[in-house]
Structures are given as C-alpha cells and as structure tokens.
C-alpha cells in the first residue's frame, strides 16, 4: 500500500535510535511525509476518495494508538477497555455539536451552517479541548479502582469498564438507571448529524473535502506526537518507565505510584477522547455499535505490532493496520466471488491472527523501543541483549 510506505519511509531509514538523533528530526520527517501524502495521492491516482477517507481514519487511529501507548507502552498498564474513552470523546462532540438537546439553545463560535439550528452548537476546536479534559477526568476516575491491581486482573477490570461505558450510554435514553429523564444517547440509533468541522461564522468544511479534513487530522497527530515526545523524556515519562520496569523499586525510589499511574490513565484517556471528538466530527454520527471490545483490541494490536513503547513504531502500526482495515480489506472484497465470503466480515479474525503470529514470532514489534535497548547497552553492557527476545523487548513487565 502506498500510504504505509509513503508515510513510513523516513521512519524505516532509522530503525534504531542512536543517542545522536534528535527525536525532533524524526518528528519533522514523519509529519512532513504525512503532509505530502495527499499531494502524492493526487498526482498518482485519480479516484482518491476511498483512499483519502481511509487515511482520515488512519490519522485518528494514530492519535488513539499513541494515547494507548502512554498507558500500555510507557506505564506498562495493560488496558483492554480503551474504547471507553473513544466513546466518551465521541459522545462529548455529539452532545456539544448537534441538535440532540433541542431544548437548549447554546451557540458558541458555531459555523454559519449551525448558527441557526436548535440545540447546543459549540465550535469543534473548543469541543476538542472540552472532550480531552472530560475524558481525562474519566480516565483518572476509571483508573483509580485499578491502582492496586496488576497483570491480567488489571486487564480484565479495564475490559469490564470498556464494556460498561458503552452499555451505560446505550441504555441512558431516559436518565441513568431510571433516575431523571434526559435522553443522553438516543439508544441504539445514536446521535446524528453532528456538526461538521468549521470556523466561527464561516461555512463548515463539507463531508467531501477530504484534504482539508486530512490536514486538520494531521495537526491533531502533530500535537499528539509533540505531547508524546515531551512526556517521554520528561520527569513523568521516566517515572512511568520506572513503574513499568519494577513497581516496588520505583516506589522505593520515591516515585508516587498513585499519582504516576493516574496521570498515565488521564493523559492516555485524554488522547482517546481527542481522537473520539475528531472521529465523531468526520463521521458526523455516533452510536454505541462503534465501541465494541474489538475496537479496543484493534488499537492494542497497533501498539503491539508497531512496537510497544516506541512512538514511531506505534505510528507505523497504526497507519498499517488502519489502512489495512479501511482500505486494504475493502479492496480485497472484490475477491469475494472466488472465495465465497466478504473479507471485511472476518477482519477481526485477521487481526486476531496478526496478534497471535506477532506474539509468537516477534513479540517486541516491528520497531522495538530504542530507548529500552539503549538503557540496557549503557548501564549493563554484559547483559546487553538477553537471549530471550520476549523478555527484554516485550515491555509490560510482571511482578
């Protein structure tokens, strides 16, 4: 696929980060390559609609995968319910940018198309901030009960939260648990249409102006990458890595475990909400069927296949898998006559197979975390690369 190669070329040139390479050079080349992508598509292909649509999804998935990477890759907390934060973000944009609450009449910097509609209409860019803050709070709230748990118990509890949150949205059609009577979600049908992205007072960006939507998505990706790089090298980032490596030792060294873990959950969740808001706005609809357990695993798959803990690996994994999902497999559907079924119907089976094969053959991912290798090289040369690749590179460490 042209996307994956076009976008990842600069990454592939430097699979191993040496200490001399500034992450900002890679940052600029990745963002630059992604920025050139619409131009490349435009010159090489004529019917670019499906490819551009797919790449919009890919950008949102990059943001989500980077958010999950903070929780799973940096802090080592396996989260199987990440889709909950995507759901919360998507519902925030649905509440604040549609005519769902028709009785309310609130317009804040809305685009000209939404100015005269009933309901709450807040400008997309403000909703982005609100959504990120709101999901960050929920990330910390849902993370708090799991602080004492480790390993697979943690995974199952997060999975349970990931299942509960969409159910609560789905069933809160007249208040929550029968308390109150506000319709929060319009049930299974979901909320639509959601306002398109637009600037105050001007016409919004139409649903077919993919290139404009693409550059807005790319801006979100750039912000996310910036946050990720800053965090990774910050005091907090080092604390996450210490907690991941050995919780007890980290605690003994004076790291506040509760604060460190809650920040990981909150920032990871905020990025999930960020992507959820963008997804809601480009799909112009939100409904609970989008938030199945499979989605959580799909995003986890990106992190694992790319290389847990390595920002560029995760970006590569997100681009590859989401392009495969929203462009590659639909293309393969053209083969459905000879093989007798639609390839897209078994997409999760295919990703499941990837997870299985990856874990057995190359558990460290395609671009394993360079930082971890560096640490091993510098401080303990005699145990630089242990023989068992699973143990040194697969970074969710167990007690």
């Amino acid at each position: 696929m042209s996307t994956a190669t076009a976008a990842s070329t600069p990454v592939l040139k430097k699979p191993k980060l040496s200490r001399g390479t500034s992450p900002w050079i890679i940052f600029l080349s990745v963002v630059g390559a992604l920025a050139l992508f619409p131009v490349v598509v435009d010159t090489l292909m004529t019917d670019d609609a499906s490819l551009m649509k797919a790449s919009l999804q890919a950008l949102a998935y990059i943001v989500m995968a980077l958010g999950l990477n903070i929780v799973v890759g940096f802090a080592g907390l396996l989260d199987l319910g990440y889709v909950a934060f995507y759901a919360i973000g998507a519902f925030v944009v649905a509440w604040l940018g549609s005519s769902h609450f028709a009785d309310a009449d609130i317009h804040i910097l809305a685009s000209s198309a939404a100015e005269n509609l009933p309901g709450i209409h807040v400008n997309f860019f403000i909703v982005l901030l609100i959504g990120a803050v709101f999901t960050a709070i929920w990330g910390a709230l849902l993370g708090a009960p799991t602080l004492r748990l480790r390993g697979d118990y943690l995974a199952i509890v997060t999975l349970a939260f990931g299942e509960i949150v969409p159910r609560v949205f789905e069933n809160s059609t007249s208040g929550i648990f029968g308390i109150g009577s506000t319709d929060f979600s319009n049930g299974k049908q979901g909320i639509q249409p959601i306002d398109s992205i637009g600037f105050p007072g001007q016409l919004p960006i139409g649903p077919f102006e993919n290139v404009k939507l693409y550059y807005i998505g790319l801006a979100l990706v750039a912000i996310t990458l910036f946050i990720n790089i800053m965090l990774r090298d910050s005091r907090m980032g080092r604390a996450w890595i210490a907690v991941r490596e050995d919780e007890v030792a980290a605690s003994a060294m004076g790291i506040n475990l509760v604060r460190t873990k809650l920040w990981a959950y909150a920032i990871g969740a905020a990025l999930g909400g960020f992507a959820g808001v963008y997804f809601g706005a480009i799909n112009t609809s939100v409904n609970v069927d989008q938030f199945a357990f499979g989605k959580s695993v799909f995003i986890l798959c990106m992190v694992i296949i790319g290389g847990m803990g390595n920002i560029w690996g995760v970006v590569l994994g997100a681009i590859a898998l989401s392009m495969l999902n929203s462009f590659g497999l639909p293309e393969l559907n053209k083969l459905s006559d000879p093989i007798g079924f639609q390839v897209t119907s078994i997409s999760f089976g295919i990703f499941g197979f990837f997870l299985l094969a990856m874990m057995i053959l190359r558990p460290e991912g395609f671009l394993p975390s360079g930082r971890r290798k560096l640490e091993l090289h510098d401080e303990e040369p005699e145990v630089a690369i242990p023989d068992d690749p699973g143990d040194q590179a697969y970074e969710v460490r167990q007690s």
Binding site: T146, A160, I164, R167, G349, L355, M359, D388
Partner: protein, 351 residues
C-alpha cells in the same frame, strides 16, 4: 485448586470473632441481603428468577470450571474458552441437522441422539481446546505473563470469525426437550423441562470432574502441577501432558455446556461465546479463581443475579436485558478490586 490453598490464619481472639466473620464475608452477606430484600419486595417473581438463575447458572458453572482449571494450573485467562463453548453449540446443532433429528422424532431416538451429540460436542470442544493450547500457549511458556493473554485474545477473535463464517446468522435449534413445557409446579413457580434438563446433564458431569481431580492419579498430577510446576516435574510428572489434560477437561465441559445451551436457549449464534465467556469468567473469579467448587457456586450466583437483572426490575430500580452485561461487569470489578481471592476466601498467588 483446593490442595494448593494456603492454610487459614490462626483464629482471631474470641471477642472480635463476629467482627472478623463479618469483614471476611461482607460480600456474600451483602449479596444475601440484596436477594432477601428483593424476595420480600416481590416473593413469587423472585422465586421464579432464582429458579431460572440456578438452571442457567449450571451452564455458566460448566464454562467457569474451564477457566478456573486452566488458571489454576498455568495462571492464564484462557480468553478463547467462550469460543470453545460456542463451537460446542455449533457442532451439536450440526449433528442434529445432519442426522435429521427434530422435535417430531420418537422419544427413545431423541434421548439416544442427545447423549451421542453430547459426547460428540464434548470431544470436539476438548480437541479444539487442546489444539489452542498447543498452537497459542505452549510456544509462550516462560514468556512474560501478558504475552499468552494477548495470543488468547487473538485466538478468540479467530474462532469467533470461524463461527461467523460457519453460521453468519442466529440459527434455531430443534426443540427436542419441549423446553418451554412445564414439568411440575412448586410454590407457584413452574419448573420447565429445560431447567430439569440442564441440571440433569450438568450434575453428573460436575460430580465426575470433582472426582477426577480429587481422587485419580491424573487429578493428583494436576493438583501437583498447579501447586508448583518445577517440583512436579522433579517428581516425574509430565507437566506438558498434564497441562494438555487440563485443557482437554476444560474443553469437554465447555462442549457439554454448548450442547446444553443450544437446547436450553433454542438458538445459537457466533457471538454467544464472548458474553458467555465473560459471565463465566466473572463466576470463576467470584468463586475464587482456581477453586473448583467455588466456580460452581459462583456460576449459580451469577445465574441468579443475571435472572433478576433480566426480569427487568430490582427494588423498583429499572434494569433489563440491556443492563445485564453492565451489572455483571460491575460485580466483576467490585470483586476483583475488593476481594480478588473470591467470595470464599481461597488464596491465590496474585491479588
């Protein structure tokens, strides 16, 4: 497993024994009080729910045993177990379809077919489960704990899609046992044929399993491996074979549960395994994962909770089938966070 449990700490001073008892059993007591309140609120409906819950709970108990057996021995949540159960259902339905057995078939033929199909479904699921172990878990023995968990999720997705290709839409099962017919009535509660059927098939299987694990040579090997795999290996136990045996046992029970579910429920579909798997896993956690009897009791308790939630109302609080997964998962979270060793105080290695 029972033998692997760490002995209870010495009894606390007599004056504090009531308090200690209360704090140690707070969750079972709360559940009991909650049930009693609902019973006083609506006696007949609650009895009906309890009856439904117990019969449905036997199915969850059979699946939960598979989780608890596997977790007890290799400390892995076999995520694909729900899908093994689903495949069991599908195999059973296919057998009946191929043999042409339906509700019109004579009594003797029906009974024979049910027993034969039970055997086939059990063998199919057992074989599948041991193949999963061979492909997805054995290569990762000794890898970090979460690696096999992730392959388990992968395996579960693969099997679910195999089910999707096999039967893309929900399919009805011939009503061989007159499942909705009333057999007898106790205290205004109609006991249906399906309820009796589920208990009738499950009880001997549970007994056989407990006997096998508790009293046979293989069971002893399993308990030894669960306690300490290295020591077991030193004592001449073939650990790999014992683990495979555990997976076979879990698969056999899941296959039986699949067959019972098909007749009890009257329909099968490819995604039944995911929800069933999570409910059964909750049951296993509730009973204290690794504890066989606990898993059975946990299955029954979850069955009752589910039935009460399904029936739509708890003490005036509006619930219903839409809320049931959320209720079950909330209970799962509460137990995992506050009482990871399960309701009955079995010690586990992680908590």
């Amino acid at each position: 497993m029972e033998a692997a449990s760490i002995p209870e700490p010495a009894a606390s001073p007599p004056g504090r024994s009531l308090l200690a008892f209360l704090s140690a059993n707070i969750l079972p007591i709360l559940l009991g009080v909650a049930l009693l309140a609902q019973f006083l609120h609506e006696p007949t409906a609650t009895l009906e729910d309890i009856k439904n819950g117990l019969s449905n709970g036997t199915i969850w108990a059979l699946i939960a045993l598979g989780y608890t057996l596997v977790y007890g021995i290799i400390e892995l949540i076999n995520f694909a177990h729900g899908e093994v159960f689903m495949i069991g259902s599908f195999v059973a339905l296919s057998c009946w379809q191929i043999a042409g057995v339906d509700a019109a078939t004579g009594m003797a033929m029906t009974v024979v077919s049910i027993l034969v199909v039970l055997l086939i479904a059990m063998l199919a699921s057992g074989t599948l489960n041991v193949m999963i172990e061979r492909v997805a878990y054995r290569p990762l023995r000794g890898a970090p704990r979460l690696a096999p968990l992730i392959t388990a999720i992968g395996m579960s997705f693969i099997l679910q899609n195999v089910g999707l290709l096999w039967r893309p839409t929900p399919e009805g099962v011939p009503d061989l046992i007159d499942s909705q017919g009333t057999m007898f009535t106790v205290l205004d509660v109609a006991v249906k044929y399906s309820d009796v059927f589920a208990v009738e098939i499950t009880a001997p299987l549970l007994y056989a399993l407990l006997y096998f694990v508790g009293n046979t040579r293989y069971g002893k090997a399993m308990r030894a491996t669960a306690q300490d795999p290295d020591a077991a290996r030193l004592m001449g136990i073939d650990v790999d074979r014992t683990i495979a045996l555990t997976f076979i046992l879990g698969g056999l029970l899941a296959g039986a549960a699949g067959m019972i579910y098909a007749l009890y429920n009257g329909a099968v579909q490819f995604n039944q395994g995911f929800t069933a798997g999570l409910i059964a896993f909750t049951a296993a956690v509730m009973g204290g994962i690794g504890n066989l009897k606990g898993a059975v009791i946990g299955g029954l308790i979850i069955g009752v909770i589910q039935a009460i939630s399904d029936s739509g109302e708890y003490l005036g609080l509006e619930l219903g089938t839409d809320w049931t997964p959320a209720v079950v998962f909330a209970i799962l979270i509460v137990i995992m966070v506050f009482r990871p060793q399960g309701l009955f105080g079995e010690e586990v290695r992680e908590g």
